[in-house]
Symmetry: C2
Subunit: 247 residues, 2 copies
């Protein structure tokens, strides 16, 4: 059953019987998905509530009949924020798409020492806008309960300031602890969030890893094989969700 | 340190002092990687032996001085064979690339009931050839000890015949056991291989899952979110390696 997000639902009461989709969602449902009267659709408020609906009409607007409202059950029990060194070209778009499916809840593009891409303010804003759109679409397709946030690009210093205590894990190509040991500690300490750091194509500068360690982050090995910067976050987040969330 | 594979090394003795690269590898090293005399390079026989070398000359051929030979230490302790329903377009190329990095050892493209792509024999052979090339390149870049095999396309019936007992896991969008429970059984039974089955875009037909179950496969849930056919094998193989291999 397809799923779309309607922010306006935040304000509606539980007793709502009909939903009129926004123009944009209406076009998506009627034109792109080619859905018709009688088809089923989930509409989510993007904050944990799903409205299971049947399409009543598609023209001039898409109007849905609400069959039932339920809390979304597709969110992982661990809130992952991915801090990634901005990679070249369009690689981060693929990361946002695939990690949204896997269950990452927040993306922070970080300009790191070895980031080759250093867009000016206007280009950066455009890129972030595009990543937000991709997160939105992927969240609907994968039936997430929330739309993952994509933060504005920031420096590593600023990302270090955002860190809260000891929930951060730096994946370092030059080695560190096994991820399993770290996640077993997280389980023991009942930790339900993880801030993960992945370097850009050239990896981290040792001074960057040092700065993150000083801020309380733990350093994990990425394993014995070399993962590219667009593959590492998928493996890392899949493993964290495997270990800290029920399937 | 870059890595290339030289099949001819299979026949050489351990006492080898110099290696002359094949024309193709020579061009790759001297032209694409722009390596020079004095640079370091790992040459692998693709069967678990790595030759750590220094470049002695790059013209007219690339000649290396062998500094030491060591068994490769980058292979996961679990041998994963990915049977994937052939997806549309070029998606399987991305799967082969990323899953080679993660550590999958063998790929079997399977024409399943809901595979939309049904290439004729010639097109299929061309595609498989291309996937083999991608596996070769990705193995070098990620420093694998072997080049993952890519089998010819086959039917689901033929893939079922290839299965050996109870090491098979079908990832089914309509639910099944938790992967953790299955992998804990594998650990207890000291299993070091896994045959994983992922459906094409439209997923499995129930009869296909039934056939695999009858052949001894266990059915695992892909979790509560919808993973696309090109994301599911990455998450699945990353989790299996996380659980059954040391990092």
């Amino acid at each position: 059953m397809p799923k779309v997000f309607e922010k306006s639902l935040r304000e509606v009461a539980e007793e709502i019987e009909k939903i009129t989709l926004s123009r944009e969602n209406g076009i998506h449902v009627a034109k792109s998905l080619r859905m018709r009267r009688g088809d089923s659709l989930i509409v989510s408020d993007g904050e944990g509530r799903d409205f299971c609906c049947e399409i009543e009409q598609t023209s001039p607007e898409v109007v849905l009949k609400v069959l039932f409202v339920a809390p979304t059950d597709t969110e992982p029990e661990v809130y992952i924020t991915l801090y990634q060194g901005v990679p070249k070209g369009d690689k981060f778009a693929q990361v946002v798409k695939q990690c949204t499916e896997i269950g990452v809840s927040e993306f922070v593009p970080v300009i790191m020492a070895r980031s080759i891409s250093r867009p000016d303010e206007k280009t950066a804003a455009k890129k972030v806008e595009r990543w937000r759109k991709i997160a939105h679409e992927a969240a609907g397709q994968s039936r997430r309960g929330i739309i993952p946030k994509v933060a504005d690009m920031m420096s590593l210093e600023d990302s270090v300031k955002k860190l809260s205590g000891d929930r951060a894990i730096v994946f370092y190509e030059s080695g560190g602890e096994g991820l399993k040991d770290i996640l077993n500690d997280f389980k023991r300490e009942n930790v339900h969030s993880a801030d993960i750091f992945i370097g850009p194509e050239g990896g981290f500068e040792p001074s960057e890893v040092e700065a993150l360690k000083n801020a309380g982050a733990r350093v994990a090995t990425l394993g014995r094989r070399i993962l590219r910067t667009q593959t590492a976050p998928l493996a890392a987040s899949a493993n964290i969700i495997y270990e800290l969330s029920s399937p």
